[in-house]
């Protein structure tokens, strides 16, 4: 009993730490002027999210999050940022424009609305969660689901990744030719 409540206390501590890290790094991503720092902050964000996933009994997802997301994807990000050189822009520079006001307003409105929705729901039945087996969220369960009910989702995911890869190749490939209007008539004249 005591152990359980201590466990819960510990969970709370971890949760609070992770949640604040998550939110803080999220805000940092949005606020840093240098994309490089933003990207680093996002890595922190992803890591803290992985902790939250663990608390939600999603071990496999948490692992994937760290490995695939924070690892592979963000490395790519950092490479590109390094390649392009960080071009900074100040999000709040130039005082509030209508875009800024609208952005803050819309984001705040969405936040409030969903929070209100959650609150209304929570007043009802959102607090009691289902009992789950220990294997919940483990690789075995995930694997089974991916190969049975969600086989198609699995396959689609691969197709999406393949398409993105092709896209990356197409867009990243070097090919220099003229622009509309200038190059085209020239070419025609030579043929």
């Amino acid at each position: 009993m005591l152990l359980a409540s201590f466990g819960n206390f510990l969970v709370w501590v971890v949760w609070i730490a992770a949640a604040f890290a998550c939110l803080g790094s999220g805000v940092a991503v949005v606020s840093f002027t240098n994309p490089f720092y933003s990207a680093l902050a996002l890595i922190g964000n992803l890591g803290s999210l992985a902790v939250l996933y663990l608390l939600l009994a999603a071990e496999f997802v948490a692992a994937a999050q760290v490995l695939v997301y924070a690892g592979a994807v963000m490395v790519m990000f950092l490479f590109v940022i390094a390649y392009l050189g960080g071009q900074a822009d100040a999000p709040w520079a130039g005082g509030p424009s209508w875009q800024t006001i609208g952005a803050v307003g819309a984001a705040a409105a969405l936040l409030v609305e969903v929070v209100v929705a959650i609150g209304l729901k929570a007043g009802g039945r959102l607090s009691d969660e289902a009992d789950v087996r220990r294997s919940f969220g483990g690789p075995a369960q995930i694997g089974r689901l991916f190969l049975t009910d969600h086989l198609l989702a699995f396959e689609i995911t691969s197709v999406v990744l393949l398409a993105a890869a092709v896209g990356g190749v197409v867009l990243g490939a070097h090919a220099r030719r003229g622009e509309w209007g200038s190059a085209a008539p020239e070419r025609r004249r030579t043929t």
Binding site: L23, V61, A107, S127, E129, I142, A164, G167
Partner: protein, 102 residues
């Protein structure tokens, strides 16, 4: 004292999502916009996993995993575009992408 309920996780996910929205709406650097999009997707992922736990069903996690892959794909294409734009010597500022307008 029970542990944090789904509601708390959801609150985090919503704030995260809103932060992402704010980033997309405010930032002019396409790189940071892409990062903000990632934050939005992660907010959604957190919600999915929280609900998955709440409902006791695994499909939310499956969904979240797929979303990760999708997010990666978007990043690939997005970065490719940004690189291509940078090669065209276009300033990396979404507010300067206004040849198409009106």
């Amino acid at each position: 004292m029970p542990g944090p309920t789904v509601t708390w996780y959801l609150a985090v996910s919503v704030v995260l999502f809103a932060t992402g929205v704010l980033g997309v709406l405010l930032r002019r650097s396409p790189l940071i916009v892409l990062l903000s999009l990632e934050i939005m997707l992660n907010g959604a992922n957190l919600a999915l996993i929280a609900f998955s736990r709440y409902q006791g069903r695994g499909d939310g996690q499956i969904f979240a995993l797929s979303v990760m892959a999708v997010a990666a794909s978007e990043v690939v294409v997005g970065l490719g575009l940004i690189v291509a734009l940078a090669r065209r010597k276009v300033a990396l500022d979404v507010d300067k992408l206004t040849t198409l307008r009106g």
